[in-house]
Point group: none
DNA sequence: GATGAATGAGGCTTCATTCAT
DNA sequence: GATGAATGAAGCCTCATTCAT
């Protein structure tokens, strides 16, 4: 029985990629990523067929982690607004806690490297979040707007809020609340 | 390096860069940009010292064009809401009319190629837009939030609105209005 | 390295190599050959010390098979011309029946991978064929030419005939005869 | 005006390729070819788009040179046989004089790197030679065999003759004559 | 022995920038 | 100044071979 392929190394590479890309951008050489992960350059390609493949898997990984973080510990029975606020807190908190991950995710999202398939898979991960938003929208002022539009607005406001929280950390909590209030005003 | 003679070629290169980068991303080779502009590859470097320089100038060019487009034909005396709406229309309309420019501007904004100086200069171009927003905020619900935050929210909502307008062109006008209403609700 | 157990796998690898090399050339990766043979990549090297070794063994295998095919069912007592024609038929028929084997043998022959030792062993396999030719030459027009030369001519004419038979399969039989007649005219 | 592309370097690269490939085979690294030509590795690709392109051009170059050599100084009015013999002498002499070129041409011919287009162009270069052969065939014993077949036979006999001449240089002239006589016997 | 992951040297090719003309 | 060939440092990826299991 040969050495089994270690998931540990896969993770190490993904984490290294996050760190390196945050610093050097998407054009960061694969050899640098491998080195950062403490792995020889050629081995990177036993875990990811191409650099593009690595980038796509990283995109999915980060997107998934973000969605999971946002929905963590969500109270089963509570007011929509309260539940939504909890998600909003989780979400922005994740972004502020892992600025590199957020930044890399942003870079990946605008790059031409992510396939339509990856994007679709990424969207699916946000499904639960979307449902939450949909319930809010349904009874509120934006009930006539398409769900996709509301989601996009919500997402972009989250981004702006995250930026501001990161930029002014001491008042992060306040900015989080303000962003949410603005969103809620817009939606309901 | 002395000032190059023909500003015409400079413009041609910038426009070519927009087209090429929209298609191929920021890693598009300079030789391709030069060819698209109908200019010999070596000559690109008489107009821009380095590729990074080209990218920074392109960033400013696009940012400036966008700001100018947004403020064009603004009625001097009118209700704040009306004036703001006019800007909103101009702005989103520009983005939908020149999707490549918007896309490239987005790519440049997240890339590590743009210097702090360029970013600062870019922000200055948005000054008038910012003032408009400030006046709205001052009397409204977000009066206590920092200007920067409100601007960021506004900007991100504009982005989301543009996305949706581009994606569903037949109803672009409607989405434009909806986005604005959401913004106004949030702000005032 | 001790003799490997299963000769079956050795054969499978050699056959797979023939198929793969016919398609992809001598630079075909060993992993592809192993996969084609349904054998794990690392195991290839329990059967062949190196890729070069595999290539040399394949060369001998094919050469041997070709010689055996050519001499198969040779009538013990018959006119030289008739015996020779029978060999000629066998030989060209083998080449046309197994174009991949012939092609790979040709590639191996011109490559620098085959050792002098393998070449010598390969020639030895053609001994009986050579004797046949020698007897023809001895009484004919080329009696003064060195045996090696006559063999070379014979071989090259066989190659040309095979090419033409493969290329124009419906008339293969005719071309076979024509090639032989030309050869006989030359030799006798 | 920039430095014009030097045909000298193109030639140098082709010649270097011949030398290197003769020694190391078709898998010889491009950097080695460039170095042998006294040219930096990157510059090779201003003269040849890819390694495959280099190989195809080399094939054509060698084929053309061979054809030109074969037909050089051909007496306008003379007996067919005499004219043909002259070509035969030229041809085999070229091969013996430039064994590397011949060897490389052989390697290229069997490799999968040469495109159908290159092969077609290569054949066209042999047109005059083919005509000569055709005239001989038309009146002789092989008048019923297809031209292509006769050419193939002729070519393969030439190869065998060249081999023998190279191998036994002191008697090269004799072998040349013998090969020709055999050919003539076969054809006429 | 059998397996297939691991390795790292090396191959082809790209490209920003320089510079001869 | 204008041009486009020249340069050579990297970059991505391949692959024969080894070796842990």
């Amino acid at each position: 029985m040969p050495r089994p392929r270690s998931d540990e190394k896969r993770i190490a590479l993904l984490e290294a990629a996050t760190r390196i890309i945050a610093t050097q951008g998407l054009s960061a050489p694969t050899v640098g990523i491998a080195k950062e992960a403490g792995i020889p350059n050629g081995s990177l390609f036993t875990y990811f067929e191409t650099k593009t493949d690595l980038l796509n898997q990283l995109y999915l990984e980060l997107k998934g982690e973000m969605a999971a973080a946002a929905l963590k510990g969500l109270p089963a029975r509570a007011e929509p607004r309260e539940r939504f606020f909890r998600v909003w807190q989780n979400w922005t908190s994740w972004a502020v806690t892992f600025p590199e991950k957020r930044q890399v995710l942003a870079q990946l999202s605008v790059s031409g490297e992510i396939t339509a398939q990856s994007r679709a898979a990424g969207h699916k991960m946000m499904t639960d979040l979307a449902e939450l938003a949909d319930r809010s929208r349904a009874t509120g002022l934006m009930r006539k707007a398409p769900l996709g539009f509301v989601l996009a607005l919500m997402n972009s406001m989250a981004e702006a809020t995250m930026d501001y929280m990161a930029q002014d950390a001491p008042n992060a909590k306040k900015h989080c609340k303000e962003g949410f209030d603005a969103l809620w005003r817009m939606v309901e």
